[in-house]
Symmetry: D2
Subunit: 355 residues, 4 copies
């Protein structure tokens, strides 16, 4: 266990990047080695030594010593000069495909927040249309990527060089389903339905017809039906065939938060106590999952926290259950899960800097 570590973030301009910046800047173990922010910076910006984060995210302005809050022009030399050991990439997946191998080659560990390295199966990756699909470097890199969900892969993450931080929707569906699947409780023949609803920050910072206030507000819409990119993560991590689950995302008229309503059949009748026991066993030692015994979680309880909240209700016969999970798509669905991974890598307490 190191006392501290030099980190860097590429892509601090997006919503997840801002949350990551905020978390790292307050992380107890990083006070003596604040993170480096690097990225695309115009020539003019470069001249003045970078872009003050306060200009990118006004809500971060003045809140901290302003000297360190600058996004600098990215270069590998910069990272080397500063002795960066762990690189967070909050970048589009195309960029992560290119840069992650380069970072590994230079001996820098990578925690990648994009979808670039999450999927082991070529069939599941197809939806991304990676240009370098099948290339030697891509195959090698994928081979050493670890799916960055500490609740499932704590041990592997601890020694990983490349951590593929999970998708936000995927996190909200895998965490509540994995324990039940592992315990062999689920009747997969009858199929699982995951009906997920996400706030608009999940759609990213680009101004598009769908992120226009007039489109999102006072509205609800389903999208990506039978075709959302996160589906592959569900299949691989829960261990499902494609026809065993339907996953439908919806665009919710709120800034942030995901609620997934998940419908399962049990092989044999269960009691709620049973099911909660399975969850409790599975998540023993997992500080960022909260189990609800007497109620169902709601988006407002998990927003702006690093938790994934899980609750469950069974029907009278004990053969069917509705599971509700909630999390903040920018935190447990992105930035705080990334910090959780850093904590595991460094041997720190898993919840460090997340409360």
């Amino acid at each position: 266990m190191n006392e501290t570590v030099q980190t860097a973030v590429i892509g601090v301009t997006g919503y997840a990047g801002a949350e990551l910046a905020r978390l790292l800047l307050h992380h107890p173990h990083l006070q003596s080695k604040p993170p480096v922010f690097a990225g695309r910076v115009d020539a003019r910006d470069a001249e003045r030594g970078g872009v003050p984060l306060g200009e990118i995210h006004p809500e971060l302005a003045n809140s901290h010593g302003s000297g360190k809050l600058v996004q600098q022009p990215f270069s590998w030399e910069l990272l080397e000069d500063l002795g960066v050991e762990v690189l967070f990439m909050a970048t589009p997946h195309e960029q992560s495909r290119q840069w992650a191998p380069e970072a590994l080659k230079r001996g820098i560990k990578v925690i990648d927040l994009s979808g670039a390295w999450r999927l082991n199966e070529a069939e599941n990756r197809a939806v991304y249309g990676f240009e370098d699909e099948g290339s030697a470097i891509a195959v090698t890199t994928q081979a050493e990527a670890v799916y960055g969900m500490p609740e499932l892969f704590r041990k592997q993450i601890a020694t990983a060089r490349l951590i593929a931080n999970p998708g936000c929707y995927a996190t909200s569906v895998i965490l509540p389903l994995k324990p039940l699947a592992s315990a062999g409780l689920l009747d997969l023949e009858r199929g699982i339905v995951a009906d997920s609803k996400s706030g608009v920050s999940g759609a990213g910072k680009a101004a598009t017809a769908k992120t226009h206030y007039m489109y999102a507000a006072d509205n609800l819409s389903a999208y990506g039906v039978f075709g959302h990119r996160h589906t592959g993560e569900l299949l691989e991590q829960i261990g499902l065939e494609r026809e065993q689950i339907v996953f439908t995302p919806h665009l919710l008229p709120i800034p942030r938060g995901i609620l997934s309503t998940i419908y399962v059949h049990f092989k044999t009748p269960q009691t709620k106590a049973n099911v909660m026991h399975v969850y409790r066993e599975f998540f023993a030692g997992s500080p960022m999952v909260r189990l609800y015994d007497n109620a169902l979680p709601q988006i407002q309880y998990s927003v702006r926290t690093g938790y994934c909240d899980i609750g469950v209700q069974l029907d009278a016969g004990g053969k069917r259950a509705v599971i509700v999970s909630c999390l903040d798509n920018l935190l447990k669905g992105a930035a705080s899960q990334a910090v959780q991974n850093l904590n595991v890598v460094e041997g720190w307490s898993e919840a460090e800097g997340l409360e």
Copy 2:
């Protein structure tokens, strides 16, 4: 077919009541016989001849001749004196249980917007805990109630004396499922999931912890899991056993609108063309259902209209489908469906006054 008819509304103070008032006041066939508004009125209000609707619903103030826009103290004599032939009851179900039989006895037809007379099976009614359950008058009254969904029971509604206007959630689930169930396409063994989301007006006008802005805004919550009152309507009207469907309502942070995401398995592989053909046949002659061929409906398209919008997407194998339906909970889910029923009863065009 009558040119016009004398109508009355009890319960104009709620959200659905306000929409009903608005629709009836603009109804082409009611211009010469504007509706009577009757209800609970204090002694002081009674003295001045009733409560101006503009005080109850400021948005209706000044919009029409103000003389007729008064809620008068309710009495059976009033209705008789004014020659009321059709009575809309936008009242709590306990009140509808008491008053609907009385109105029928007096020869007044009833269109009841509550849950009082929707359910034929005692088992399904149990959730309401009606005090008069099993009484002779309740049995007789229920026997002649017709479920007021014109797309299913147009013929029976035309001659009915008591019309039980459907629940808002129920409408959004029955309309998209009934055609497929009737056509025998559905594999009911594998179960149906109806994941519904409704705006806050569905929770009524009472100020409660759950209708507080701070509870509903920026939030999403599931409720009534495995126990919502509208479930019985789904079972009876679609023709399902209780274990063949799960219905989960959610409270959406918007004023109005329902979106239901419905998951079905087909007995044999279908094409989208197939399914749309079944819908088109079923809804031929149903002006208040809109089918979406090339997209899925969204809440914003149906809000403030009398339509139920339906769209569907199949998976690659044609064995599973996600159906999305949308409607305005206060209109097709309440007030405009009531007016649709009036139109059918009077032999007018079904969409009269609804565009």
Copy 3:
């Protein structure tokens, strides 16, 4: 008075254009001569005879006979062939500067919803930076433009060929101030403050950083301080010097509606009865203004109506007043005021088609 008239709309793709389409399609006098929708249409769209409005505004789909709901490629020949007599331009002001003179030359009356022809003073127009400023044609055209606020210029509008439909903010400030200014009540030396708040539809349909849901939602921001384009309309129509009023617009996290809070000093102490009397006199015969005697208007009362609502409260001494006005920025602030102008031009009832 003509029984009907052939109208056309250019620019039906925006928010105000959609409202205009909806109003004209339901206008009692236009049932026999539905409006023509013309505009920019791609070659491919042109081939199929235009773009169905249901593709541009899904909420208009299926609601009407679909045959007439097509946006056709614009050409002057088209307008001539169809005998268009009144042209609504819901276009950017640059386009209105070019096309309005052309329409007038061809004997077509114009109701222009842009800021192109609203301002008489070159100084006030400067903020628009019109390219043709000062040209002969611009001078001539401006000279015959009438400011399209029927409550102020009913008589001039009736015979006008070019009507400059007022700005949304301007309408919400001029209507409550003009009666008091005309009556000589206001102490202009002490200055007027107009603090206005508008929903996001006022910012237009373009997806920009400021119309992104994440920027507008859960937020409030002031903009255009001391420099908003509508200021000139206030000066010219109320009759003020620039230093006599401050007008500050704010972006409100709601889809539509404007509320203006206006602060005035009176020359001599007034009573509320006094002030309401002045309003009542001024707005006698103005069906689209509603006065509030016992309360202040709120945005929710005027949204989706064609009204401008006005209420006022005086301080104890009667020397100061806070006036609150509300309207729907897309209706009384744009489309319904345009229809009101059409009604005046054609000699129809001013509120025709607006309730």
Copy 4:
């Protein structure tokens, strides 16, 4: 300076109370002496030793060691037994009027978040209708109350026994105006306008017609015109006559945050540099005020922070200015300002526990 201090909170069930609990639980100086939560607890609740905070505020559940997160039945003995030295009262003002003197008598310092002790002038207090107005104990108590705005009264707060934490609106108006008034820049004859807009949490946790989602959402309304209770704070703290300012609050459809748009006239023309210099001098050493040089603050920048943000824009002549201030009504408008006062009292860094 003490290393730590024993604090207690009465009234942890409201919105401000929850924020206060959260801040105190994370306060670096209180880690060894966590705050005591006391309040109204039913007999049944008392039996089990109090109400777990996780039941009152589910978002606080599980986030901390649950043992300490219990609201206990209030009694003076409890406070004495636990050695409470500083008592936060997040209670209705009637209760604060009664209990604050009692606490002082027992040697406990009070930081009161209500309006009970903010006003020195009987005339300004009249709006509260205190039952004990004019009583000896009330007079004595008021005499030693210090207005708890550290930016104005840091020195007095340090030695105060009773601190009257300012109103949320008042804070947003006093902080931007006081420096300019103190510097003698303002032309008070021409009057000041403070047009304030607040999120719904400002209306409290009680479910009322005005906090109903359907009332607040998609709406904006002015209230308390010429009569809001915070007016007295403005007069006393800025040093104004009643006729020199108009203050109008509005209910904004967002959960939290206040934006005040303030209109002033200067006695002599100013430059922006001038004005910013005055601000910078005044707020030197005030870590919880952020000045905006190049833009205006927005609600989203200050929500969930302890800052009051201030920006200003002058007209061309330099005689008039629009000042915009933003803060979180539950933090700088209540809980974090209370913690700021604690920090001053204890001699800790003023921003301790607030970033």
